[in-house]
């Protein structure tokens, strides 16, 4: 008896529509993981750095021995400009400059001053790993200097042992020269945009998308669609009306969700550095572009959803059909959280650009770094995507497919859609 019920339950529940989302999510996570790279391997890799040692004293020798042992030093000369150029050319992380009086200062019970010029490539979580490795390298260097200080017979200031060096930092990031800030500090500050904005956009797309697909499912389930389609109203107006209505519902739902999420994120915020002090600020026209980017991406997402919604047989199948949009929004969110658009492989860059919702996720950071072409290009692409999707939706609304739900059996996509419908 039980076996019979188990068999029936399994057949009812284990369908393509339940299996496919799980399989694709697994593939998505796997692909994103491959793209992001193995953290362990990257930490173990020797960082590529340049060193300008103008001191020649005991402590700079200690520092140099640590650096040479633990890093791939591609420049060891006396010209900072030349060294910086070399580091840039060789895709390095930083140039460390040890000035003339470095050892002399330490002997005089003053911290040795260093200059670090960072080459920052991206502001994603994974982009800060290499600079983190260099930070660890400097810590190791300090430890060696501290050990040498302790082993000396002469009295030494304990504060100096704890912090034998100080540093002045300059970070070069996408054409900007930011003084007094390391990549990790900058990454932390931009981190709120790396996490909060992608999550906001993802939630907005999913909430609004679910509304529009559900609306199509409900029209069929409640048997209201036929009446709607015989009313004296253009099919394009029905499509646009559904998109705008769903966008409003989606915005309200996402706003409620985000209030809680922002409070949650605020509890992790520890940086009190103001980005505007470093020229990383947005003007009114930038905010306008962010708003347009978000609006167009939302329309693009909803227009995609309404096309998917036309395949919904009822409310339940509509919930399954939201899945492709959710997957695309999640892929965008994860990639942007962990990597910068410029630091991901070209194939993923094309994929990311092709997902219209990814653009508002990247817009704020891109505008802060004056990358207007990415934002404006993204808006243009999302607008074209929206127009094409609306045209496809109107075409489906004008065809029999909306009522009959027929999808050509020979087409592979048709098979997939029928599977999801079930």
């Amino acid at each position: 008896m039980i076996r019979n019920i188990v068999k029936k339950e399994f057949k009812e529940l284990f369908t393509l529509s339940t299996l496919l989302p799980v399989v694709v999510i697994a593939i998505v996570f796997g692909s994103v993981g491959q793209m992001i790279g193995n953290i362990g391997e990257r930490i173990e890799e020797k960082p590529v750095i340049g060193v300008v040692n103008m001191d020649g004293g005991d402590f700079s020798e200690i520092a140099m021995s640590v650096l040479i042992e633990r890093a791939e030093v591609i420049y060891d000369g006396s010209d900072a400009e030349e060294g910086l150029e070399k580091v840039r050319e060789d895709n390095g992380v930083a140039l460390l400059v040890i000035p003339e009086n470095f050892s002399q200062n330490i002997y005089a019970n003053h911290p040795g001053e260093m200059e670090i010029y960072w080459i920052m490539k991206g502001a994603g979580m994974m982009d800060s790993i290499s600079s983190g490795v260099v930070e660890a390298l400097i810590q190791a260097m300090n430890q060696e200097i501290s050990r040498e200080l302790i082993q000396q017979d002469s009295p030494v200031d304990p504060a100096l042992v704890l912090n034998p060096t100080t540093r002045t930092e300059t970070t070069f990031f996408k054409g900007k020269e930011i003084e007094g800030l390391s990549p990790s500090q900058l990454g932390n500050m931009l981190g709120s945009q790396s996490i909060v904005i992608p999550v906001v956009v993802m939630m907005l797309i999913i909430m609004a998308g679910t509304s529009v697909i559900s609306s199509m499912g409900l029209e069929k389930e409640n048997k209201t669609l036929e009446t709607l389609l015989t009313l004296p109203v253009r099919r394009s107006h029905i499509v646009i009306g559904k998109i705008v209505g769903s966008a409003l519902v989606g915005v309200i739902m996402a706003a409620i969700y985000m209030i809680g999420f922002l409070y949650y994120m605020r509890s992790f915020q520890i940086s009190d550095i103001n980005l505007a002090d470093f020229g990383l600020t947005l003007g009114m026209h930038d905010y306008l572009l962010v708003g347009i980017s978000l609006f167009v991406a939302l329309l693009a997402g909803l227009s995609l959803c309404i096309v998917l919604g036309t395949f919904a047989k009822d409310y339940r199948s509509a919930q399954t059909l939201i899945f492709p949009t959710t997957a695309l929004a999640m892929i965008s969110m994860f990639i942007i959280m962990f990597k910068d658009f410029d630091t991901i492989p070209a194939v993923f860059r094309v994929l990311l650009f092709a997902i219209p919702f990814s653009h508002p996720m990247m817009a704020m950071r891109a505008l802060m770094l004056d990358n207007y072409s990415l934002v404006i290009g993204g808006i243009g692409y999302a607008a074209v995507f929206t127009v094409i999707m609306i045209a496809v939706a109107v075409r489906i609304f004008n065809s029999d497919r909306l009522l009959t739900g027929s999808v050509r059996k020979r087409v592979a996509l048709g098979k997939l859609v029928r599977g999801l419908q079930r």
Binding site: K223, T227, V233, R234
Partner: protein
């Protein structure tokens, strides 16, 4: 002018031919009944005329407007009541009628349409309740009200009294008749042979996508030597 002219209409769903070349006319102020067994092609024919489905071949005109070219104009003058129609569950009955009315007029005109809908549906105070709380019969009355309140020139009614009790069904038939007296053309499909005989001026019997017989109820009964239209129908499709 004919309200509906259907000529050699063919409708395919993929490789399945649902309608195999049917022709008929509906005159102004006429109730034309399309009857047949399940899967005969009645609903498909009604959906084609209601601008919902594309034509595979043949021609359909509604008050001179050709389908599908002038589908927009046809939608301005027709009202379609599907067999299994529903209304938006989160709206009240009155809100639903107002929603529909706004497609046919603005301001006072829209209010007048809603008023007509309220009278036809005759749901009393329940009209202010959400559709979700309505019984099947109440929903059907609301939908009949919706279909006829806009003063269409052609009403396509698929099982108009489906789910209604005897009293309400009789009331709906009375409303249809009075609308026809005012010039409305009706294309009707029903399984209720009594209803068809009572309401329809002419009837077409459809089976396997083809019209097998047509005429007035009296003509069909005579042709098939039947006591009633139900018997004529059974004899026609055998």
């Amino acid at each position: 002018m004919k309200a509906v002219e259907v000529r050699e209409l063919v409708k395919d769903y993929g490789s399945f031919r649902a309608i195999k070349g049917i022709s008929f006319d509906v005159g102004e102020g006429e109730i034309f009944g399309l009857i047949g067994p399940n899967g005969a092609g009645k609903t498909t024919a009604l959906r084609v005329i209601a601008t919902l489905l594309q034509i595979t071949s043949g021609s359909v005109t509604v008050f001179g407007y050709e389908l599908p070219k002038e589908a927009g104009r046809v939608r301005e003058i027709l009202s379609y009541l599907p067999e299994e129609a529903g209304a938006y569950r989160n709206l009240t009955g009155k809100e639903y009628l107002s929603f529909i009315a706004r497609f046919f007029g603005e301001g006072e005109e829209s209010q007048n349409i809603v008023q007509r809908g309220l009278e036809i549906s005759n749901l009393g105070e329940r009209i202010n309740d959400k559709v979700d709380t309505y019984s099947k019969g109440m929903t059907r009355r609301l939908l009949v009200g919706r279909a006829l309140m806009v003063n269409p020139r052609l009403a396509i009614l698929d099982e108009p009294t489906s789910g209604l009790d005897v009293v309400n069904a009789q009331e709906v038939r009375r409303i249809i008749n009075s609308s026809v007296e005012a010039g409305l053309a009706v294309l009707l499909s029903s399984h209720n042979m009594l209803e068809v005989e009572f309401l329809c001026h002419r009837i077409a019997l459809i089976d396997g996508g083809r019209i097998v017989a047509s005429g007035t109820a009296a003509e069909l009964k005579k042709e098939y030597d039947a006591r009633n239209i139900e018997e004529a129908f059974v004899k026609a499709i055998r």
